[in-house]
Symmetry: C2
Subunit: 369 residues, 2 copies
């Protein structure tokens, strides 16, 4: 059976073999390093794909919102970290979760700790968000006074149990590959352990949890930490290819898009597949080309990735404009299909809300808005 015949509109295809390989490789690396593997489920947001992680021995997970925690709690997960500064407006849902599962929350201020403790009826594990240089959010790793103040508050308040220190490096890799990643990882771990040592000096014990797909993909051994939380690696995407974190053939998802028009004068193909399917996440390549995805063609067993000269050049709400080389342009038929390997698979999956496997099975994901 050819799944491509049944596709009528933009559809997120998933190659289960690649997904399971990506999961197995990361799980094995975590086992070898002796660290807890607490994968981030925000990328796939699917109970069924979650089971593939369970088959690799995963029992603890990370999510990025209370709604996502509720979804996975309903699907049998009982050790859940919400890796997002606690949202005090969702105390009712947090209480519901804390009653059901081993709930881990993220804090970075005394005021949030006090209000959380006052609003909770059940115990939760608390992690402090540490900023090791990304400057998105978290307590500055060099500000031990502030970190100690929050840690002490958590340690003394009822229902809060100080569990550890958490960071997301979010480093933008340049061109250094594994050597650069190892250096970045080393610096991050040093900074986290400086903080851990600082807290230990005042009698507070903490675990260290680190995240991010590029670093986790590129380092060989997770030394100096207790837990890793990569998420995107389950699918990877063109941003990770650009960062050197994976090869194009490790990308496990592609959006099938019907071809609706061709423009020979500018060698462009118009597809049904735009910003509401792919997202507006853009990739600026090293030669300053802006693109919204790489092109592949359907094959009997999956897809074949075309050279980088074939890419999504612009988008509107429903249109994608594909810049094509001669071979792609000449072969493309109105009414046929092209595949787009997304720039950022998390955002694309979140828009398309489900997956079609290469053997024609539909995989549901959480429907969270």
């Amino acid at each position: 059976m050819n799944i491509y015949d049944q596709i009528t509109k933009p559809t997120l295809l998933l190659d289960e073999t690649i997904v399971r390989r990506n999961i197995a490789r990361m799980a094995e690396k975590a086992r070898r390093s002796g660290v807890v593997f607490r994968p981030h489920f925000k990328t796939h947001q699917s109970a069924e794909i979650g089971e593939w992680f369970r088959e690799e021995g995963v029992t603890a997970i990370t999510v990025s919102s209370v709604d996502m925690a509720l979804y996975f709690a309903q699907h049998g997960w009982d050790d859940i970290l919400i890796a997002f500064p606690v949202n005090l407006r969702q105390l009712a849902e947090l209480n519901q979760l804390a009653e059901q599962v081993n709930l881990h929350l993220l804090l970075e201020s005394v005021v949030a700790a006090e209000r959380l403790s006052a609003g909770l009826r059940h115990a939760v594990a608390v992690w402090l968000k540490i900023d090791v240089g990304y400057h998105r959010t978290g307590l500055d790793w060099q500000d031990m006074a502030a970190i100690t103040a929050v840690a002490r508050t958590v340690d003394t308040l009822p229902r809060l149990h100080l569990a550890g220190l958490l960071t997301h490096a979010g480093y933008r890799y340049q061109t250094g590959g594994a050597a650069e990643a190892q250096a970045v990882y080393g610096q991050m771990v040093n900074r986290m352990n400086t903080v851990r040592d600082g807290l230990r000096a005042v009698g507070l014990e903490t675990a260290v949890s680190v995240g991010d797909t590029p670093t986790s993909s590129l380092v060989e051994q997770f030394t100096g930490v207790d837990e890793i939380r990569p998420g995107n690696f389950v699918f990877y995407d063109m941003m990770q290819v650009d960062l050197g974190a994976c090869r194009p053939e490790d990308v496990a998802v592609a959006v099938a898009c019907p071809i609706v028009a061709k423009h020979a004068d500018r060698r462009q193909i118009v597809v049904y597949g735009g910003a509401i399917h792919l997202s507006k996440e853009r990739l600026v390549t090293r030669d300053e080309q802006v693109n919204y995805g790489r092109i592949a063609l359907p094959t009997a067993s999956g897809w074949r990735i075309l050279p980088p000269e074939n890419y999504v050049a612009t988008m509107s709400q429903e249109h994608g404009i594909i810049q094509a080389d001669n071979a792609l342009f000449d072969g493309a038929q109105i009414g046929g299909l092209l595949l787009v390997l997304p720039v950022h698979s998390c955002l694309t999956a979140n828009l398309l809300k489900g997956y079609l496997t290469l053997d024609g099975r539909w995989i549901e994901m959480a429907d969270i808005h």
Copy 2:
């Protein structure tokens, strides 16, 4: 009652007074010009908001996908234009629609016309997509040979009725305001009428339909056309403010976002509200600042827009990082709310899938992925 008390997570607020004013103003301008007002419903995607258009005399609508056409057909609309090059993989749904409603489709090639005619069981009105210089898609307005070939094909094939010529200018305005818009509009209408005259010379009569919110907002009189199809004006957004198409106080939607952290050293506020709520649509202002939305604060009657120094500086999947002036930063409380006026309201609404009115009523929208 204060609606802000009930908000626990990113929520799209809608000011019904502004929406109705935006609709009334455009409807009145179309009436005054004696043109058909066929608004694009892809922005709001809501049956209830559609009724507000009906109250202004609207009977014909534009959508951007077959699924959206099916949704509005179910909600009593019977004159629907799908302003997207026809997707030949959805012939089953097109037949279903063509049986139920007065269906208008868009074509730009002989091959698509032939395959459409062969696959249809019911009559449809056909519009030719004309490219007046935007180069996204459509037949080049200067290529009369190609346009005539498609028009003749449509005219002779069964079940296809040649209705007209359609364009979407998509012009990026610079700084010229209404005078520039009038010049752009004049050029677009001239080009469309050149094509219409060319077809008339070979015995083919066509209507002319034009779209886009900035032009429709800025010109005073719709001369030389039969129909207008603006859509975004129903809500407007910061992109339209930047283009000069509206004032900030014409923007009818804002995303309420819980405040989860503050960073005094860089005067940034972290909110729950990121790429999966706002979209990654970015605005590069004239002084090269990149932002993802403007900030407003809740008031008793709606919201108050803050100076442009307050904006969404960066985003991840769930986080928004707000750059704040001193007044905003000092007043912001963890657990409180900020409002974000989106850069592109169509994409934001598509992500949030519904609206909370200022009087606390929930407005559903189509749930199309």
